[in-house]
């Protein structure tokens, strides 16, 4: 065995090793909970999401404004935020937001629900999996716009259609992620349930589903903007009252500022939904150790 110097010159008594909890701000690799006021911390970090959103939005807008002015980008390609703020038809935008938000929520719930249910079926039975997974893939493989004729045949052209289209866009990430989560279970936990003679349903309820929650929340994070996209796409295909329609009509009428106002509004809707998911995760999955 290689020898190492048995004694190193002992370092001079140093500048007091103060390793206080000061740098414990949850930023880097620190893992333990900050004892006092952890709840407050959690609340604060819950608030941090929207706050950062706002800050970033502000910075992005500033960069945008300056960029447009400096490069002299024509307003029909990309208007400056100040121009959007002053000349857009905000009345129309707020009208559109109302109807879009409802559809987005509907699509979000329906898509996640469908993805989740499909993941459950697929993970529960290899036979169902071999039948359903190709189907899911096929559904995913077809651009929704191309499906439009069939969807309109099946669901007509009402609000239902918007929700279906959004759900179609949302469900696949959820399916994949929930499948991942359902399988990210320790072997021993399954063995435990096996010894306890649990029915598969119980194993799912008590072990696999809770274990899948972090992945599911990731899926919902992806779903938040995807649902908005879906609704906008649907409104593009079939019209309606929402932001997607407004984007198209504004674009056609060359009301570029209104179009961008609508786009910004849709981004804000997506951002809010996203923050909602993050907040819910913090509250519902304290054990998951997400920082």
């Amino acid at each position: 065995m290689k020898m190492q110097t048995p004694f190193r010159p002992s370092a001079a008594p140093s500048h007091g090793g103060t390793a206080g909890p000061a740098d414990d701000g949850g930023s880097s690799g620190r893992t333990d909970a900050v004892p006092a006021g952890e709840r407050r911390g959690r609340f604060l970090s819950g608030m941090r999401g929207p706050a950062t959103s706002a800050a970033v939005l502000a910075v992005a807008l500033a960069v945008w404004e300056i960029g447009v002015r400096v490069t002299g980008t024509p307003s029909y390609a990309l208007p400056a935020p100040s121009e959007i703020a002053t000349t857009a038809d905000w009345g129309a935008v707020s009208e559109a937001v109302k109807s879009t938000v409802l559809a987005v929520l509907g699509g979000f719930v329906a898509g996640n629900g469908a993805g989740f249910a499909l993941a459950l079926l697929i993970s529960a039975s290899p036979i169902l999996a071999s039948v359903l997974y190709p189907l899911a893939l096929t559904l995913r493989a077809i651009p929704v716009v191309a499906l439009a004729p069939f969807i309109t045949l099946a669901f007509g052209r009402g609000a239902m259609l918007t929700i279906v289209v959004a759900a179609l866009i949302v469900f696949f990430p959820t399916l994949v992620n929930v499948l991942l989560g359902l399988r990210s279970v320790e072997r021993e936990a399954l063995e435990l349930m096996h010894v306890l003679n649990c029915r598969p349903v119980t194993v799912y309820r008590r072990v696999r589903l809770p274990a899948a929650m972090p992945s599911f929340f990731d899926a919902m994070r992806i779903a938040a903007p995807a649902a908005v996209l879906g609704v906008m796409t649907a409104e593009w295909i079939i019209g309606g009252q929402g932001l997607g329609k407004l984007v198209i009509t504004a674009a056609l009428a060359l009301e570029t500022t209104t179009m961008w106002a609508a786009i910004l509004a849709s981004s804000v809707v997506a951002g809010l939904l996203f923050s909602l998911v993050t907040l819910a995760e913090r509250l519902l999955l304290p054990w998951a150790g997400r920082r």
């Binding site: 970033v56 045949l153 990210s184 096996h194 903007p225 951002g271």
Partner: protein, 273 residues
């Protein structure tokens, strides 16, 4: 038991014999469906109808094979470029977010907002900046691919097992070392899953991007078929796009299995335990 928890192949489920059975079932079901469709199509399909028989769709594909082949290749090329760029961008962003949480958080949210802008709306700006060629298609594919990867990767990086992180600290791996030796491997299952999401997304995005204006591509073929109301051709394009995404999914499932043999999560349906 973190999301990265490990379940090695045991003998718990004893499902191995089912693999053949499930493959058989799937084949049977789909053959039956196809047969029914074929029969229905032959009996009911009139030009102008919605459901041409599969044999006719195959005929269309076969007759136009040269064109479909080159169109598919074009779109696959655009999607591949966008996908690669998107994944790279997402990985870089995820690392930035990991390293600089505050800035990272902002970038995350900005990404989210950009991701939620529909292609329709982005088209004029994209075209103005990138023109109507390959680049703008790849850019749209990139936008579609990067977000799922970003979300999954940051999620996984944020929830590495506490014990593993402590190991990294004691080994004094530093940030890079902890990523390389500990956290990225732990994030690998979530990452490969996100690739399964991103790959079809990129492909579809490239197809849609071709609608903005293009000379070649599967999306364009689809548009022609729709616009010219040619249902067999429409179906042919859909079959092709499904085939491509199916292959992509299979490929990434396979990659996931190769890359994370220790992880229980393997491709759809088949729990190898």
């Amino acid at each position: 038991m973190s999301r990265n928890a490990v379940a090695a192949p045991g003998t718990l489920g004893r499902r191995t014999p089912n693999r053949l059975a499930s493959a058989l079932t799937a084949t049977t079901v789909y053959c039956a469906l196809l047969a029914a469709w074929e029969l229905y199509g032959r009996a009911e399909y009139r030009p102008g109808g919605v459901l041409p028989p599969p044999s006719q769709i195959l005929g269309v594909l076969w007759n136009g094979r040269a064109g479909y082949w080159s169109n598919t290749l074009t779109t696959v090329g655009e999607a591949a470029a966008g996908f690669t760029g998107g994944v790279a961008l997402a990985v870089v962003l995820a690392l930035v977010m990991d390293r600089l949480p505050l800035i990272g958080d902002g970038v995350y949210r900005l990404s989210l907002m950009i991701y939620s802008i529909p292609v329709v709306a982005l088209a004029p700006a994209l075209v103005a900046w990138l023109g109507l060629g390959f680049t703008s298609k790849a850019a749209v594919a990139l936008l579609a691919a990067f977000f799922p990867v970003l979300v999954n990767l940051t999620g996984a990086l944020r929830s590495t097992d506490r014990r593993v992180r402590e190991l990294g600290e004691v080994l004094n791996t530093g940030w890079v070392g902890s990523l390389r030796f500990l956290r990225l491997p732990y994030a690998l299952p979530a990452f490969t899953a996100s690739l399964k999401i991103a790959a079809p997304a990129a492909f579809i995005a490239a197809m849609i991007a071709e609608w903005v204006g293009a000379d070649q591509g599967l999306g364009l073929a689809l548009l022609y078929a729709m616009f010219g109301y040619q249902m067999p051709e429409l179906w042919a394009a859909l079959v092709l796009s499904s085939a491509v995404t199916g292959l992509l999914a299979a490929a990434f499932g396979w990659i996931a299995r190769i890359a994370t043999p220790w992880h229980a999560s393997i491709d759809a349906g088949s729990e190898r335990r």
